[in-house]
Amino acid sequence: AAGVIQSPRHLIKEKRETATLKCYPIPRHDTVYWYQQGPGQDPQFLISFYEKMQSDKGSIPDRFSAQQFSDYHSELNMSSLELGDSALYFCASSLHGSTGELFFGEGSRLTVL
């Protein structure tokens, strides 16, 4: 079965650079979530989109932005990167009206040097 696809899987950036992460949800899923997980931490919710509209907002820095496109894929844009942005970024998708289960991708590991 198709899963959530995230790219790139690994990314290395310098401080103050920008980075873009992409997420392709499971086909027919209409909701996308972004989470950030620091080393040894639990996943922290950043932002979500339902039917291409922002649905919920968590602890997403102002330097970050995201959107969901017409084909339901989503991109997380991160600017003015800081060392503390180094983390595993997860995308998850779900289908509204189902049992609320989030299906997670394998994550994109961002390292800021």
């Binding site: 209409d30 996943p43 979500s48 609320g100």
Partner: protein
């Protein structure tokens, strides 16, 4: 405030022994409850979920969990642990059928399995 508490940061269990990981939640409405497992450097895999009905739910890999409304708990159990079960386990709570509203995760419990 909505929250999930996993009281045990790290648990070590002998292979073949039984396991119980604790999860308590605080949630104002009818919640969905989930247990996810994460191996190092990997994504989160759903073990099981509860949203209604039988309070004892069965999941993958021989895991089960019991929802106890009176105790606001959703503890994860396995009768016989295998070395491959060593991983990070996260309990999560979410709203009932609200599109796009995020799950709230606990801090996680690291399970080590000794031989």
């Amino acid at each position: 405030a909505q929250s999930v508490t996993q009281p045990d940061i790290h648990i070590t269990v002998s292979e073949g022994a039984s396991l119980e990981l604790r999860c308590n939640y605080s949630y104002g409405a009818t919640p969905y409850l989930f247990w996810y497992v994460q191996s190092p450097g990997q994504g989160l895999q759903l073990l099981l979920k509860y949203f209604s009905g039988d309070t004892l739910v069965q999941g993958i890999k021989g895991f089960e969990a019991e929802f106890k409304r009176s105790q606001s708990s959703f503890n994860l159990r396995k009768p016989s642990v295998h070395w491959s079960d060593a991983a990070e386990y996260f309990c999560a709570v979410g709203p009932f059928n609200q599109a796009g509203t995020a799950l709230i995760f606990g801090k996680g419990t690291t399970l080590s399995v000794s031989s």
